[in-house]
């Protein structure tokens, strides 16, 4: 049984926005506006001391004047007023709160932060924050983010959930995800983690049926042992991609033994991630690279990769990246596949891996090649390089690759490098669930992560 239930926060039937305002520059205004823009269809209750209607909605002076059940209160008022408002929420029976306001432990006001934590716990109101962006769920149309949609695009509905302490990193990632085809399940920026913390959120996402892949940006954890307990179970259920910030040597200066000198804080986190099958990202871009392959591709049955390309150089780059990968290998085409390929391909095409289809390859040549190899027992995964600058590559090629993707039980990813024309086809393919990478190295890293995750998941214990 979870310590807290985040369902009220992620899928509320009614939301009060405390600190709602007529002033478009106020955070409380943007939050209310975003709820309206997102088409949230539950009850919406603006709360403002003046009580004047805001954005055409009936506005309440106090949360206890609402007199109806409130599943979630979003609190966007100056820090010193938060304890009083939390008390009111508790007495009025509000089920959960998101405190977006800053001005607590992050600026040294630890007492104020402890106080709001105690109030939230006293009333058993799960509280996200303070000092956070809050939550977003495109399915339930909950959106507590105080960033206007013209500045920060909102992703479509999908299977990747994202959790972050940092609001800035969180919003950056959210903006980036909106440019990817895979879509979002849940977004949770939890700030100071005074009540609801990493362990609670990870557990919630682990059990959330709409979440297929968990992506997290972590600076630290509030309750180490509780986090361990959840982390131990999570990767067995779904992939977790993690970016850990804070590679400091703090605390190591005082070490007396070799072990303590080497095994610092950061290394210990990495060890934990490795031990429990998390995929470790080195950079923000890695989070997206890994997320999109993990959310869309089936588990590979082995580690042998076929490379199909319309550019010789790009094929070599993929091959080089594969050679330095810790777990992937170039596959060898079976005799049957070789025979079929020799028969179908023009004589300029050498039948070997990487399979260079030549610069004039069109969608049919790609189709024939993939068809010949898709059931080859020596091939477990495909990297298809599609350079759209070449004469034969056009929208039909993008459509053909998507068609294969839909009918294939082996992982397949695409490498397409280029500007507008390429970008357009990238979006086409990605929105159909086919992961596209803009560099051979990124593509190979992603496949490698897909394989290691599945090796971990199927490990013998």
């Amino acid at each position: 049984m979870s310590r807290v239930d985040l369902a009220q926060i992620m899928n509320p039937k009614s939301v009060a926005v405390i600190g709602a305002s007529r002033d478009p520059d106020k955070v409380g205004h943007v939050i209310l506006q975003n709820y309206i823009n997102a088409g949230y269809d539950g009850e919406l209750y603006p709360v403002n001391k003046s009580g004047e209607d805001i954005l055409g909605l009936k506005t309440y002076k106090n949360v206890d004047q609402i007199k109806k059940s409130v599943d979630l209160a979003v609190i966007a008022i100056p820090a010193p007023f938060v304890p009083g408002v939390l008390e009111e929420c508790g007495k009025a029976g509000v089920r959960s709160v998101v405190v977006v306001s800053g001005g607590f432990a992050e600026v040294g006001n630890t007492e104020l932060e402890e106080k709001i934590g105690q109030i939230a716990m006293k009333y058993k109101m799960p509280m996200i924050g303070p000092n956070c962006l809050g939550v977003m769920d495109p399915r339930s149309r909950v959106d507590t983010l105080f960033l206007p949609t013209y500045k920060l695009s909102r992703p479509s509905i999908g299977g990747v959930s994202f959790m972050a302490q940092s609001g800035a990193v969180g919003s950056t990632i959210l903006d980036l995800i909106s440019g990817e085809g895979f879509g979002l399940s849940k977004f949770i920026s939890y700030g100071n983690a005074t009540y609801v913390d990493e362990a609670d959120i990870l557990e919630y996402l682990m059990n959330d049926k709409d979440t297929k892949v968990i992506v997290m940006y972590l600076e630290g954890v509030k309750r180490g042992k509780a986090f361990l307990d959840v982390a131990r179970k999570t990767a067995g259920k779904k992939p977790v991609v993690v970016l850990k910030a804070g590679k400091t040597a703090e605390g190591q200066a005082a070490a007396h033994s070799h072990t303590a000198a080497l095994a610092g804080d950061f290394e210990t986190y990495l060890a934990l991630f490795r031990q429990f099958g998390f995929i470790i990202a080195d950079d923000l871009s890695d989070l997206l690279y890994y997320a999109k392959v993990l959310v869309s591709e089936p588990p590979p049955k082995g580690n042998h990769v076929a490379v199909i390309t319309n550019g010789g150089g790009a094929g070599v780059l993929v091959t080089d990246a594969l050679a330095s990968s810790p777990n992937l290998k170039m596959g060898v085409f079976s005799a049957t596949a070789q025979k079929a390929l020799r028969k179908a391909m023009p004589s300029i095409v050498s039948i070997r891996n990487p399979l260079d289809l030549a610069g004039d390859a069109d969608y049919q040549r790609y189709g024939t090649a993939i068809e010949a190899l898709r059931n080859d027992p020596g091939i477990d995964m495909f990297v298809v390089v599609a350079l759209f600058q070449t004469p034969g590559a056009d929208s039909k090629l993008a459509a053909e690759l998507v068609r294969f993707k839909d009918n294939m039980d082996k992982p397949m990813i695409v490498v397409s490098v280029g500007a507008q024309y390429t970008e357009m086809h990238k979006v086409l393919m990605e929105s159909a669930g086919l992961p596209v990478y803009d560099s051979p190295a990124a593509a190979v890293k992603a496949l490698s992560a897909l394989l290691s995750y599945n090796v971990y998941k199927n490990r013998k214990r």
Binding site: F227, H256, H258, T259, L262, A263, A271, R274, R461
Partner: protein, 185 residues
């Protein structure tokens, strides 16, 4: 490793019994014995043993309280370091590294949170760039896995241990020797 505290040079000589031995000074004031010149290795013959005792006793004079310990020389083989640390957040953490002084130079080590499973222990070895130094034979690998599991159990059972080094552990054709242990509570 067969070891004994000795008070006099003749104690040391009778312990060596004509076979090569190592001799070291143990003192809470000297954590890095080799660097401080407090370890003498491969002492052969009564004369060499007695002379080494004299040198170490002199060097250790300002390190009181101290002990001098003699050990049978370890077999030669691959050196490993196995250690532990109590992490404030996650509890005991176990470490494996290979190759003596190179562990720190190359930062080639693997960590796990305790308790570990035998799968975790195998993965710790797999993670090392220098894994081929021990995986060349299956027996050595099994010994390392076995030792890691034991150390993990020890760390879980003794949560007052802040830091632990088994360094070096020497793996050779007959098994392994834990040459030195350092525990900080």
């Amino acid at each position: 490793m067969e070891s004994r505290y000795v008070k006099t040079s003749s104690d040391a000589v009778s312990f060596s019994d004509g076979k090569p031995i190592a001799m070291k000074v143990l003192s809470p004031k000297a954590l890095h014995k080799t660097k401080a010149g407090l370890v003498k290795l491969d002492l052969r013959g009564d004369k060499e043993v007695a002379a080494a005792f004299g040198v170490l006793k002199k060097k250790a004079a300002w390190l009181k309280p101290y002990d001098i310990v003699v050990q049978k020389m370890a077999h030669s083989g691959v050196e490993a370091i196995i250690g532990g640390r109590m992490d404030a957040q996650f509890g005991p953490v176990i470490m494996l590294g290979l190759g003596g002084i190179y562990v720190e130079a190359f930062k080639d080590f693997a960590l796990r949170i305790c308790p570990i499973t035998s799968y975790d222990a195998e993965q710790m070895i797999e993670q090392l760039r220098s894994k081929d130094m021990i995986t060349y034979n299956g027996k050595t690998k099994r010994l390392v896995v076995d030792l890691l599991m034991k150390v993990s159990k020890f760390l879980v059972a003794n949560d007052d241990v802040k830091e632990l080094d088994l360094n070096p552990v020497i793996m050779h054709e007959h098994g392994y020797d834990v040459v030195d242990i350092r525990i900080l509570k």
